[in-house]
């Protein structure tokens, strides 16, 4: 397996921080009282009986925003290596990066015009 020793401490930190919620649940499981009832365990809906499930269709707007997000997030991830070695690469690569940034900008202008960034 491909392992980097630089990241040993990352894995150790991951293990320790995963223990924290488990420990919290365990301590609370020992200390907290249990007195359950059907009324107490029902979903909160302003004091009336819950009407149906919440697992149903939701606004498509969220999906549109997520799509635009993915485009820009991937773009910025690709820009990071360029920014790291900017002083070495010089002008020609800057122009290439500019063209690379322009493509998602054109895309986002299109999305804006089409109303993908409108909430209502």
């Amino acid at each position: 397996m491909f392992l980097l020793h630089e990241y040993d401490i990352f894995w150790a930190f991951l293990i320790i921080s995963s223990v924290i919620p488990i420990l919290a649940f365990a301590i609370s499981g020992v200390l907290a009282p249990v007195s359950e009832g059907p009324e107490k365990l029902s979903s909160y809906e302003s004091g009336i009986e819950p009407m149906g499930d919440a697992w149903l269709q939701f606004r498509i707007r969220y999906y549109m925003f997520a799509l635009v997000f993915v485009v820009f997030d991937v773009e910025t991830v690709f820009l990071y290596p360029w920014a790291m070695s900017f002083d070495v690469l010089g002008v020609s690569v800057f122009i290439e990066a500019l063209i690379f940034v322009l493509i998602p900008i054109v895309g986002s202008v299109y999305a804006w015009r089409k109303g993908a960034l409108e909430w209502s």
Binding site: F13, S17, V34, W55, F86, W112
Partner: protein
């Protein structure tokens, strides 16, 4: 015969010394982590207390005063109370998603502390990808929020979870672009290198002066990432009761509470590191060792000064965000998304191109 016995001895002693070394290695990995976690916990308790006291001062109340001197132990008392409270699982919800959600949020935010330097060489792991690691890990938290919102099977929770995710991903991009301009200025993603690049000329060398637009965009986006007022739409109590936390009680709610303050602390620490010169003393022409007549800043003294300066800057930013909470009204959802997508995103892109051009001129 002599050779034989020495060989046997070496064979016998070899595994014990190796295992001892491994044990020492493990201890040396775990001690700093545990120290950091204890420090973070104390930091969060102080923030909770500060938030209560400052809110009280702004609203002309007295605030916590009974638990300990000046109510300092109030936060500790609250946390302990949550441990003793009954932990309810909604009967119609999904129990696994319901418990995993808060855990993921806490773990992912806690992991961001890995790359924060509190002083020179006082960083858990000086990774070359530093800030990108923070951005990558902090965007795992929305998944936890969505899980808890979905797992509750409650309409308020579900709307709150969706809103939290939409808000986080909208403000992620301006934040990332600002960090990108910073790492372009210092030619490195490592947090230690970024602070070192600001160490000259005291506070005049801060990235704040070279990136004023980026600083403002970063502050606004980090407030939105922390779901603080004026961006606390996921838990807007007038519309959504408590958002994705509606069904939570006991320690699971406590984990969300902890996570929100951890997130606030990590954002303010990153503001310090990226824009305010980190652990440096920051007054030009005066350096700490000269001030105290010590030639070499070394050992415990240097560390203490570094930690103190970092925390002082971070808590200054925290004070600003706490006062913002009681000053500005909440935004509407469409205003929030418009601000993120139609204002901050173009501005941060422009800021990036401006930074690049200025770097190109100075090349």
């Amino acid at each position: 015969m002599i050779i034989d016995t020495t060989e046997v001895q070496t064979i016998n002693s070899f595994p014990t010394s190796e295992s001892l070394k491994e044990v020492y290695g493990l201890i040396w990995i775990f001690v700093p982590i545990l120290t950091l976690i204890i420090g973070i916990t104390i930091g969060v308790l102080v923030i909770v207390w500060l938030e209560r006291e400052i809110s009280a001062a702004i609203q002309q109340r007295i605030g916590p005063e009974y638990a300990g001197p000046f109510g300092i132990l109030q936060a500790l008392a609250d946390g302990t109370k949550l441990l003793f409270k009954e932990d309810l699982l909604p009967s119609r919800g999904d129990a696994r998603l319901f418990s995993i959600g808060p855990s993921i949020v806490v773990i992912s935010i806690l992991l961001s502390y890995l790359v924060i330097p509190f002083g020179y060489r006082l960083v858990l792991a000086d990774l070359s990808i530093g800030v990108s690691l923070w951005i990558a890990i902090s965007s795992i938290a929305p998944i936890g929020l969505l899980m808890s919102g979905y797992g509750s099977n409650n309409k308020y929770s579900f709307s709150g979870g969706l809103r939290a995710v939409a808000q986080s991903i909208s403000y992620e991009i301006p934040l990332t672009l600002c960090v990108l301009s910073i790492s372009l200025l210092s030619n490195s993603s490592s947090t230690v290198d970024i602070v070192e690049a600001q160490s000259k000329y005291g506070f005049l060398g801060w990235n704040l002066w070279r990136q004023p637009i980026g600083f403002i965009v970063f502050i606004v986006s980090s407030l939105a990432e922390c779901e603080r007022l004026p961006f606390d739409l996921p838990e807007a109590e007038e519309e959504l009761v408590a958002g994705y936390q509606t069904e939570y009680s006991g320690i699971r709610f406590g984990l969300f509470y902890l996570a929100s303050y951890l997130n606030l602390l990590v954002s303010s620490l990153f503001v310090t590191v990226l824009y305010l010169g980190g652990w440096n003393f920051s007054i030009p022409y005066i350096s700490v060792p000269e001030l105290f007549g010590i030639k070499k800043i070394a050992g415990v003294f240097g560390m203490t000064i570094g930690i103190f300066i970092t925390l002082a800057k971070a808590y200054l930013f925290l004070f600003i965000s706490i006062t913002t909470r009681w000053t500005l009204p909440r935004m509407r959802m469409d205003q929030l998304l418009n601000l993120g997508w139609k204002f901050l995103l173009p501005i941060s892109l422009g800021n990036l191109l401006l930074t690049t051009s200025s770097q190109l001129v100075s090349l």
